[in-house]
Amino acid sequence: MAKMVLEMQHITKTFPGVKALDDVSLQAYEGEILSIVGENGAGKSTLMKILSGSYSCDSYAGNILVEGKTMQFHNTRQSEEAGIAMIYQELNMHLDLSVAENIFLGGWKQFGNVIKWNKLYQAATEYLGQLQLDVEPTEILRNLNASKQQLVSIARALSHKPRILILDEPTASLTETESATLFQIMLNLKKQGYTCVLISHKLDEVFAYSDRIVVMRDGKVINNHNREEFDQSRIIAEMVGRKMDNLYPKCKVPVGEVVMEARDFSVPHPQNAKKKIVEDVSFTVRKGEILGIGGLVGAGRSELVNAVFGIIGKQSGAVMIDGREVQIRKPEDAIREGLALVTEDRKLDGFVGGMSIEENITLASLKAICRYGIINHKKEQLSARKYFDELKIKAADMTVHMETLSGGNQQKAVLSKWLMTKPRVLIMDEPTRGIDVGTKYEIYKIMVELARQGIAIIMISSELPELISMSDRIIVLSGGKVSGELQQEDASQEKVMELATRMVV
């Protein structure tokens, strides 16, 4: 057995009303990739934040030993000094600083009190190169899309040259190729004797790359599997507490007439009026149909649906509902026309952190729970409760503030909000990002059920298995233009990838 580099003993942590971790013990060894899996709210992120010093050592019970020595981390600096670096699940970056500065955020001192910028940029370029990330180190982070921002945060963690690298859902917003690069780096680190702790809901990659898997549920460690004894269905069963045979409960429902048509959508680049992020894209979606939109990150999928929904301005484009042209200038109009959009970045525009789960669920349907503008609290509670239970949101109760929920549960609440508007067309931008397998399954089931009720669904997804298994039809974008369309029968991962990388002129 390799040397044990890290041990966490009997960690117990409570938040007001929630016991997030209950006597958790965990070991990590030199040169291994250890994965932690578990449903949303199982306590994975909390455990890792404890390890990274993000929660100070006097806010929980238990011990942390690094290479046999007991550690007391009051802040992240101390854990960094002990060789631990963490990539947080929620992007924790400074959007108005440059890429290079973000990579060395808080560590600028190494480039002198008066920063030697050339050195800083040079060093940043090195890390960017390692991740094969093609951005200028001087670029302002705000101008990058989510996946590039995620890669920058990974570069930041690497820059600490950690002995133990913690990655909390690092691939949630990455494409397959980007993920592959990341895992290559992890394998390299492993070879050099470093330890990686990975949290991910993408079980394929967990099984492909981990040396060991720890399963958590309800704040406890359930089991510990070594590589030789990996058994997918058993681990899933341990995670969600029941057996699951089929991950994608898709079944064909009869497809009806066209509900919505988007015609000739073009979206200008925010900084460069001459460039277009989306160019002349048209598509239709029918009653009961699940339309998948595939493509690489940066293909303009999010911009397309955001423009359809009236969140961002468009250069051209018309939306037809039931063959009738409707004017959508702002999200309000879209909602009135029966559209709903689960946006990509939930923290940015998905929910109001300081409000309760209940209030967030009803936020887009205030009219439905109001009479003469006065909220009917009974009705509000009842209707919110329905989704709260149906989607199994894990929280003490519905009055809990959104910001204290685990990432996956926030996503469920956001989805609830849109389901409550009873949309005719439900658009979902990466709907299962950061969601555990059990809940994914629930969400897929809901999608199918909605389709059965005649709702048209548009799903943007970078997870190819999900895209292929769930969609009746897939359109693929490349460089802002449609590069092809596939029926479910013809679709395969290779074909989608081929279309996604095809240049359209």
Partner: protein, 313 residues
């Protein structure tokens, strides 16, 4: 959860209660009916304005112009009155003028996206300037008795303004807690982008909050003119800071999305009680500012300290 909130609210009373008890013990006049009535009147004036400020802050905006709007409301009303226009019409004109400032604020902030501080600082100058141009620095005086009754009249010994303030507070609290408008305002203050995406008309919500605060400020300007039997050109000067301070002491966040109208009552009561107590306790005028500053910080500090202790438990 519900219980906790009301407990939190209750505990905020502690600094105020201590202040009252100490003052009353040292000088029993504090608890004399006439003093309490004077105090209630002062509180009611500040409270009406602060309710508006609470709304604006909940929506994550800011209004520096309210002091000037008070002056403007009173002056326009006074101008009409000294020209023998009917009382109701004069009041209406005063309110209208205030509302116009609110609309301008809203347009500048919401439509032109000028930072709220600059926009309302601008209208603060302009509104006070208009008052100066109109009045040439002289108060409008005399005002008719039917008008003065608004600021000087009492019901069962209690000034009208106290009843008005109570009604406004109740309605404002109800709107925040129970109506779709109130919910929208909180949401906009908490996360403007998420609110917009959820179909809330962010512009309209902010617009109305700005118009509301101006209307309330103008209204207080008017009853203040009635109280002082004259529309003073400098009326309301500096009230913007007092009101914001009262609202924040009451627990509303300056950055939006968090707070309550009921908290604002406590904040206003604290501000006015401090200055009343200073006088009753015969604190030398030179020391008054020092004392006020310390009490203010201590009152909020007490609360923050308590919250921190709870959180670390």
């Amino acid at each position: 959860m519900k219980k906790k909130i009301s407990m939190n609210g209750l505990i905020k009373i502690v600094p105020l209660a201590i202040l009252c008890i100490v003052t009353g013990m040292i000088n029993p006049v504090f608890f004399a009916g006439s003093n309490l009535i004077d105090l209630a009147r002062s509180v009611s004036f500040l409270l009406i304005v602060s309710v508006g400020v609470t709304y604006v802050l909940l929506g994550a905006s800011l209004d520096m112009s309210i002091g000037s709007v008070m002056g403007l409301g009173g002056a326009i009303c006074g101008l009409c009155l000294v020209n023998s226009l009917p009382v109701w019409f004069s009041i209406l004109m005063g309110l209208l003028a205030s509302a116009v400032v609110g609309i301008v604020n809203a347009v500048l902030i919401v439509n032109c996206r000028i930072p709220a501080l600059i926009a309302t600082l601008g209208t603060m100058y302009v509104a006070r300037g208009i008052v100066n141009v109109l009045t040439k620095g002289e108060p409008y005086y005399p005002l008719p008795d039917e008008f003065k009754v608004l600021g000087q009249g009492t019901l069962a010994g209690i000034p009208y303004s106290v009843f008005i303030a109570a009604a406004i507070v109740l309605i404002a609290h109800f709107v925040i807690k129970k109506t779709s408008y109130g919910r929208s305002l909180m949401a906009v203050g908490g996360n403007r982008e998420a609110s917009r995406v959820s179909g809330i008309n962010v512009k309209r919500v902010l617009f109305s909050a700005h118009v509301l605060v101006s209307l309330l400020a103008g209204f207080v300007g008017i009853i203040m003119a009635a109280r002082l039997s004259s529309a003073q050109p400098n009326a309301g000067d500096g009230w913007e800071m007092t009101a914001v301070a009262a609202v924040i002491i009451g627990g509303t966040s300056m950055y939006g999305g968090y707070g309550s109208v009921l908290g604002t009552i406590l904040g206003c009561a604290l501000m006015e009680t401090i200055s009343n107590a200073m006088v009753l306790l015969h604190v030398s005028v030179y020391w008054q500012k020092i004392t006020i500053g310390i009490i203010m910080v201590a009152a909020v500090g007490m609360d923050t300290f308590r919250l921190k202790k709870i959180a670390s438990k």
